[in-house]
Amino acid sequence: MDSITSAASVIAAGLAVGLGAIGPGIGQGTAAGSAVEGIARQPEADGKIRGTLLLSLAFMEALTIYGLVVALVLLFANPFAG
């Protein structure tokens, strides 16, 4: 792999995870905040709220993971390595 390609791949891999973490981070914060609010308002529903929260957090997490998959492909299975 020539040096320009490797440099571009490493930068792109960092950006893929870093930028991909912004949105889900905000989303997870909002979701967790609302869940805490819900539990404070209705402590008896905490089991249901926790289950739903975990499931939705995992969905948001998946978005960052897509970025991570792209980063891993760039680092370990680069199609442009030549």
């Binding site: 995992a58 993971i65 998959v69 891993l72 299975a77």
Partner: protein, 242 residues
């Protein structure tokens, strides 16, 4: 492939390195087969032991299996609906148990002690081929579920509520297996990588919290995969009430 192999003293990190087996014209990833055979064997042994000499008042392994069955049945019934869930309970249950045991097996069994000529053993679900196969099985399952229950009326689902939705629903058929497989693969591989990198930096104690987090996320991922598979099947067999 594997242009950047990180060979480290404590934790070898071999992404993109595989133990290749030649099968006709196919090159297959041997380490995935080995570890999934272990997983399948463990599951079979567990279920075999638990279903011998069943008693009215469940004890020990039988008790655990009954709890699992209850759990999976509730999951399937919630997602698929009262009418059709019985047909799909074995499928959902198999998916859940296989993925769960694969994920935890990859994290808990000290695979690194076994040296392979190339590549390393780990969770079978940390290989994209396994997860794509599972996701495509889910795709086949929900098509079959819809077609067998509703016949060609199944395709009404594509033009409901308006025909404008048609292209989106067709794209959805492709994005469903894509996101299912990538979610599982990425999460499990990420867990393994985080633990491996931490173990490389500080080999003692520091990776432990990351390992516990990994166990937690892998369990959730198994649950999510099974839930979504059930959800897609439920969507396909769902009858509109006009």
């Amino acid at each position: 492939m594997g242009s950047l192999p990180l060979v480290l003293p404590f934790a070898e990190l071999e992404v993109g390195q595989h133990l290749y087996w030649q099968l006709g014209n196919l090159k297959i990833h041997g380490q995935v087969f080995l570890s999934s055979w272990v997983v399948i064997g463990a599951l079979l042994a567990f279920l075999f032991v638990g279903t011998r000499k069943m008693e009215r008042d469940p004890r020990g392994v039988q008790n655990l299996i009954e709890f699992l069955w209850d759990y999976i049945r509730n999951l399937a019934r919630e997602q698929i609906g009262e009418k059709a869930y019985r047909d799909w309970l074995p499928f959902i249950g198999t998916l859940f148990l296989f993925i769960f045991v694969s994920n935890w097996g990859g994290a808990l069994v000290p695979w690194k002690l076994i040296h392979l000529p190339n590549g390393e053993l780990g969770a079978p679900t940390a290989d994209i081929n396994t997860t794509v196969a599972l996701a495509l099985l889910v795709s086949l399952a929900y098509f079959y579920a819809g077609l067998s229950r509703k016949g060609f009326r199944y395709f009404e689902y594509y033009v409901e509520p308006t025909p404008i939705m048609l292209p989106f629903k067709i794209i959805e058929d492709f994005t469903k297996p894509l996101s299912l497989s990538f979610r599982l693969f990425g999460n499990i591989l990420a867990d393994e990588l985080v633990v491996a990198v931490l173990a490389f930096l500080v080999p003692v104690l520091v990776p432990l919290p990351a390992m516990f987090l990994g166990l937690f996320t892998s369990a959730i991922q198994a649950l999510i995969f099974a839930t979504l598979a059930g959800n897609y099947i439920g969507e396909a067999v769902h009858e509109e009430h006009h």
